[in-house]
Symmetry: none
Subunit: 226 residues, 2 copies
Amino acid sequence: MKILIVEDEPKVASFLKQGLEEQSYEVTVVFDGYFAKKMAGENYYDVIILDVLIPYINGLEVAKQLRNEGIKTPILMLTALGSTDDKVVGLDAGADDYLVKPFEFKELLARLRALTKRFTDNMHEQRVIKLHDLELDLDRKVVRRGGKTIDLTAKEFGLLEYLLRNKNRVISRAEISEKVWDSSFDTSTNVIDVYINFLRKKIDKEFPTKIIHTMVGMGYIIKTED
Amino acid sequence: MKILIVEDEPKVASFLKQGLEEQSYEVTVVFDGYFAKKMAGENYYDVIILDVLIPYINGLEVAKQLRNEGIKTPILMLTALGSTDDKVVGLDAGADDYLVKPFEFKELLARLRALTKRFTDNMHEQRVIKLHDLELDLDRKVVRRGGKTIDLTAKEFGLLEYLLRNKNRVISRAEISEKVWDSSFDTSTNVIDVYINFLRKKIDKEFPTKIIHTMVGMGYIIKTED
DNA sequence: CTTCTACTATTAGTATTTTCATAATTTTTA
DNA sequence: TAAAAATTATGAAAATACTAATAGTAGAAG
């Protein structure tokens, strides 16, 4: 998540930068309106934190001009001026939110979350379960290992997903039968064994570190260490 | 522009209603969380103004539940509690903005403008969905690929739109049935398969790179790479 | 009335899942 | 420790499930 901070007071700027980086945002700081426009125009940011009182071009003007250029990055306006009129002007200039200094850092964080939420909602982050060098991609329904993409059938995928969600834990055949085949366990069949075999061929065979292990008399376990 | 106001204090409610109607918003007022959920679920609103302290289900819970249901209508949270923690909780519950009572009406208006702007801006930029050399034009309801304009029927278009909005993700027939046909999945029909076939004929057949892919036993996925 | 759309029915072909027989391995028993 | 028993692995065949493709029908739209 990339953030552009536009703030000329060094104290505030470094305080923000540090705090946000601790939350693992990628932070860029600029000190005046001129650079703010330039950076926002040339780079992509998830949010812009924009102080109103900055050199050259003030924050309101920066917001207005960015919007005119069609840049829709959410803007959180920051200022020492707390009157309603100031807020109204700021919001109408194109800001999406407005925060009055001094503010508590956790409120800033909450407002940032609110601003970026809509964005991340749409960009549904891809759901992936990882173990060692193996990736199970729940959206694309494929597995990747060592750079290679491996196709699995529906049952194979279902079985591997269940095992991965329960990695480092021995899973009995009865449990697998119930959760993956959703039926009570039937001793007269060895489908599970067969599918374990299928999985091994596809995801373990050509790799030195095996991840599927048999626990004789107990079931199977998925893990990396031997 | 339609607004839902959720506020149980009659004075505040009627003050808001009157003021907003003067600004030519269409206003609906409900007095408790139960009705709020019901109305927001069944009707379309551009913004919801949501008081925190309301009967039955409090505002925070209403916001949370609406978001869980996938309703993304901007929410402006309203409350007498002004502490930072309250704001943080409110914003994290799913609110897009937070206003502390008492507030000036023009600040409310400004924040409403900011909230609806963001929303309507998004609407306008999403008028064309692209993937590779395929364009889905939501205004003209046509598809273009390789310079050619392809006409689709309503159902074909609806299906392709849904798939494109979920590109790079395997979509099950159940999901398609629910979202495109809005009915629960019925195994006794193969409409979906047939429509996939229609789409393939129209948008994939004469092009080397296919974008509709079958994942046997799982559903369909739209993507370019093989 | 004709054309178009949404859908159903059916088929053949293919991919997947399961069963089964046998081999290999591990555990138990003597 | 060696043989027997139990458990698991594997390959191939059989059964089943799934999908593509096409033709046909009812009803809406023009």
